[in-house]
Amino acid sequence: MVLVLALGDLHIPHRAADLPPKFKSMLVPGKIQHIICTGNLCIKEVQDYLKTLCPDLHITRGEYDEETRYPETKTLTIGQFKLGLCHGHQVIPWGDLDSLAMLQRQLDVDILVTGHTHQFTAYKHEGGVVINPGSATGAYSSITYDVNPSFVLMDIDGLRVVVYVYELIDGEVKVDKIDFKKTTATTHSAH
């Protein structure tokens, strides 16, 4: 069992002062093996904080990030899964599943994680799964109204991944989960 925290679009300090206290108390160091962050932290202080939760931290560049040297995209392998990470402002139309699917094919990953829309989504389709963890602070978005703070925790176990989404709705943390199973020998033949 490998726990991967996926979050992004915190927009600290431009659009939010901090993570919601209820989220902060849940995110405890030492419990998570990897963190993938879609971007728009925006300041180093947030990176330092995430580093304390887990040293294996992966970040892609959002258009407001203070650090301009984060990569545009990133791929990593965790267990049986290949994950792809990208902020998403580069994929137009913003939030469009088919365009995101193209990126997924390009990066050749099972799970693609992108942000930018501040709206949590999780789509299953032929190539795999496309996840948007939303905005961990509930930051203002021109695309989405009434953003609820949210983040995603993936539990990767063999060929199965359970995606837990945590959303702060009216002051309460609500959890939902989605199951994905990867079929063996589908893709990724290294020929």
């Binding site: 600290i12 659009r15 402002h89 094919r105 893709t187």
Partner: protein, 789 residues
């Protein structure tokens, strides 16, 4: 006589102890054989050892204790008349024949103890007699110990009188009188010690005196323990006499010790009721007395007392404790002209802590204390003493910590005035403390007035203060400004009018921040304003009235100003992003002209200020992404903007960037909404243009580097073809897709690129996708059928 060296002292002490032991031996023999005469002779000789002047108080005490123990035996002997056959009255007479005064008096006191217990004479007379006779010894150390002995042996009797509630009040008065007199005399002796041998012995004297202080203080303890010394007696007799002694002795060591002793020994209830008298002594004390510690301890005790019950609180108001304390502090500061700044401010800190604890609801009291401090600070040059500065910071922190709600502290009118007296560095530190307090307590500042006050307080962070040449560490500066940025999110009111005012006030203050600060503060403010716009969306705000209400249009006007100031820093990239956000917001408000204007500003920035290729590419993505979503534009406006966007895309420096930007533009002509534009032709035009650019890139790579170029571009374009093919763009045929696939295959074969490379993998997954779609069946399957793999 001066004492030279510890060694000598040890020798003398040893000699003294030997002397005592020697005489005690013979005294014991006399006691055993009931020989009074001999007993008196040897005890007198023994006591003569206490006549020494050679010992320090510490050593003298050791000697004294030896003698004390022996005197207990003697006392027991005296008590038992059957042993010596002399009545106590006669004994009292007999011992006065001892040769030297000191032994005589010790013996007298010892007999006196027995006499008192026998009740054969009125206690009053006896005590009076003894306390006055002790005057015969005027040497400080010898006198203090002698009187201490007297106090010791009379203690039991005093306790009896004190607890006898049936007894005559006069008897109690006599007992009190006795103690007061002994106390006065002891104090005089004690003070006299300091005046002996001035010069280099001064410090040593001081130390020695400290060792003896409890002997003097003991008397006060005794007074405190006499049960029948009630509030009235304390008020009328005890306190005035003690204070008189304290003030008149004009000795700083003594005054400090005794004031503190009074405060510790007597109950808080008494202090509260005698506050005027007690405090009245303070300005009369020597200037060198650490009065602030004395007063602090008093206020501390009273605070705790106040917390003990609510009835007590009522008393505080009744006796006007606050006013009295406040006045005393003013007087003390006035009288002690040489008191350094830190002393005065520490007093104010103590008073403020007292006020906050005892009268937490009396903001006027707290403000008064701050006001007094401001007055004091105004009459002084600017604070340079770091200790004093620390105390001012403590003064300012106290209300924050007590109220836990910055808003309350903001109502203290003197608070900002105190802050003005801090040096720039400390001022900023304090401002950060204030912001931290707000963030920690999640306080929301909800009125324009309070925001105004708040920003006055933190002005050190918002702009460069006069004369401030800050060589501030860059990291620290960033932290400061990020704190201010976060703070802006805590300023909020549900009511749009008020929120509009708040935004204006924040801008008023932050615009003076200069180019260094705007990039930090402007984004927060802009998003705060955009949130307000969203709330107002749909509201038709053209109400006729005095106050022009907040409308989206007005806010956009302000936003335009704000972002313009930012771009002038120069900070074009950030400004561009913010303009786009405003355009999107204007779109949602159905304000076509406003949205168009924001796009214009965006493009101007792009053309004139953004030169870096990477920055340009990101900017293009943002522009296309935003424009793609616009619904408010009429055909003309939309065409103009799209034309510009595609133009920029085609003119990016690097070919791959160009290619990608151009095919992204295809989405400008196809929106998947019901009323969305669906211009199949122009989509295809874009894609074909992208193909041409990809080809050109390919050729350039061949020529320039002898290698193949970015084949992956072709695969990307293929995917775009598929996208629009699926969406039902008639202009994109299966045949075209077929051709493209073949083209790619050709390029790949011709390329010495290794299998498993990125384009290869991408193509593979794309082909897999096509296969998957074919197998879907239905309409989709039908579409894909004609594509052969």
């Amino acid at each position: 006589m001066m004492l030279n060296g510890a060694e000598d002292e040890e020798k003398w002490l040893a000699e003294g102890i030997a002397g005592i032991q020697h005489n005690a031996f013979y005294m014991h023999r006399a006691l055993d054989s009931n020989n009074l005469r001999e007993a008196l002779k040897y005890s007198a000789q023994m006591l003569s050892e206490l006549r020494t002047s050679k010992l320090s108080p510490h050593k003298y005490y050791e000697l004294y204790m030896r003698a004390f123990d022996e005197l207990r035996m003697l006392e027991m002997f005296f008590k038992d008349e059957s042993k010596h056959g002399v009545s106590v009255v006669d004994l009292y007479e007999l011992v006065q024949h001892a040769g030297n005064i000191l032994p005589r008096l010790y013996l007298l006191c010892t007999v006196g103890s027995v006499y008192i217990k026998s009740k054969e004479a009125p206690v009053k007379e006896l005590l009076k007699d003894l306390v006055e006779m002790c005057r015969g010894v005027q040497h400080p150390i010898r006198g203090l110990f002698l009187r201490s002995y007297l106090a010791q042996i009379s203690r039991d009797k005093l306790t009896d009188i004190g607890s006898d509630h049936e007894g005559d009040v006069d008897t109690v008065m006599d007992a009190v009188e006795f103690v007061l007199q002994n106390f006065s005399e002891m104090n005089k002796l004690w003070v006299r010690m300091q005046n002996q041998e001035p010069g280099r012995a001064r410090e040593k004297r001081k130390k020695e005196r400290s060792e003896l202080q409890d002997l003097v203080g003991k008397n006060l303890h005794v007074l405190g323990q006499i049960e029948r010394v009630d509030l009235d007696m304390y008020k009328e007799t005890v306190l005035p006499r003690v204070l008189e002694q304290v003030v008149n002795c004009k000795d700083d060591l003594g005054q400090y010790y005794l004031m503190d002793c009074i405060i510790q020994v007597f109950p808080d209830e008494y202090h509260l009721q005698t506050l005027e008298a007690l405090l009245g002594a303070c300005p009369q004390l020597q200037p060198t007395v650490d009065i602030k510690t004395v007063l602090s301890r008093l206020m501390d005790r009273l605070s705790k007392y106040a917390a003990s019950s609510t009835d007590v609180l009522h008393e505080f108001l009744q006796v006007e404790a606050f006013t009295k304390l406040s006045n005393t502090i003013e007087k003390v500061i006035e009288v002690q002209v040489d008191m350094p700044a830190v002393g005065a401010i520490t007093l104010y800190v103590s008073l403020l802590m007292f006020t906050l604890r005892v009268h937490p609801d009396r903001l006027d009291y707290a403000d008064q204390v701050l006001g007094a401090c401001v007055k004091k600070l105004s009459n002084m040059p600017k604070l340079e003493d770091s200790l004093a500065t620390k105390q001012v910071v403590a003064l300012l922190r106290a209300p924050l910590e007590k109220y836990n709600d910055i808003v309350t502290a903001l109502t203290l009118s003197n608070y900002p005035r105190v802050m003005d007296h801090l040096d720039n560095g400390t001022n900023k530190v304090m401002a950060m403390v204030i912001i931290e307090s707000i963030m920690k307590n999640n306080t929301c500042i909800s009125t324009a007035d309070k925001v105004e006050v708040l920003f006055e307080l933190i002005k050190g962070l918002i702009k460069d203060l006069d004369g401030a040449v800050d060589e501030l560490d860059e990291e620290d500066f960033k932290d400061e400004q990020n704190s201010v940025a976060k703070l802006i999110h805590m300023l909020y009111n549900d009511e749009p009018e008020e929120m509009g005012k708040i935004i204006c006030i924040v801008w008023k203050h932050t615009m003076a921040g200069g180019p260094k600060r705007l990039p930090f503060t402007v984004p927060s403010l802009v998003f705060s304003a955009l949130r307000l716009v969203r709330r107002l969306q749909g509201q038709e705000g053209d109400i006729v009235g005095e106050v022009v209400p907040a409308t989206p249009k007005k806010i956009f006007q302000l936003l335009s100003q704000i972002i313009e100031a930012l771009s002038a820093v120069p900070s074009p990239e950030l400004a561009l992003r913010l303009y786009l956000h405003c355009a999107e917001a204007a779109n949602d408000c159905d304000l076509e002209h406003v949205a168009y204007e924001f796009f214009t500003q965006t493009f101007v920035l792009y053309e004139e200020e953004i030169a870096n290729s990477k920055a340009q590419l990101t900017a293009i993505h943002l522009i296309i992404g935003a424009l793609q979503r616009m619904t408010v534009f009429g055909v003309e406006n939309r065409d103009t903007l799209t034309h510009k966007a595609t133009g920029y895309s085609a003119r990016l420096l690097k070919k791959p960037d160009q290619c990608r930007a151009v095919y992204t533009c295809s989405h400008l002509f196809w929106v998947d909404d019901e009323d969305g534009i669906r211009d199949g032709e122009r989509v295809l035009l874009c894609l074909k243009r992208a193909l041409r650019i990809a080809n050109a890139a390919q050729q350039m790579a061949n020529v320039a580097r002898g290698s193949s170029g970015p084949i992956t571009l072709f695969v990307e374009i293929l995917n775009k073809y598929l996208y629009f093919f699926e969406k039902g763009n008639q202009q994109i045929t299966a045949a075209a897709i077929q051709d493209l696939i073949e083209l790619i295959n050709t390029e790949m074969q011709g390329d010495s690129a290794n299998p498993g490379s990125d384009p290869d993998v991408f193509l593979a997954s794309t082909l897999r996708y096509i296969q998957f779609q074919k197998q879907k069946g239905g309409i989709m399957g039908g579409k894909f059928e004609s594509i052969e793999l």
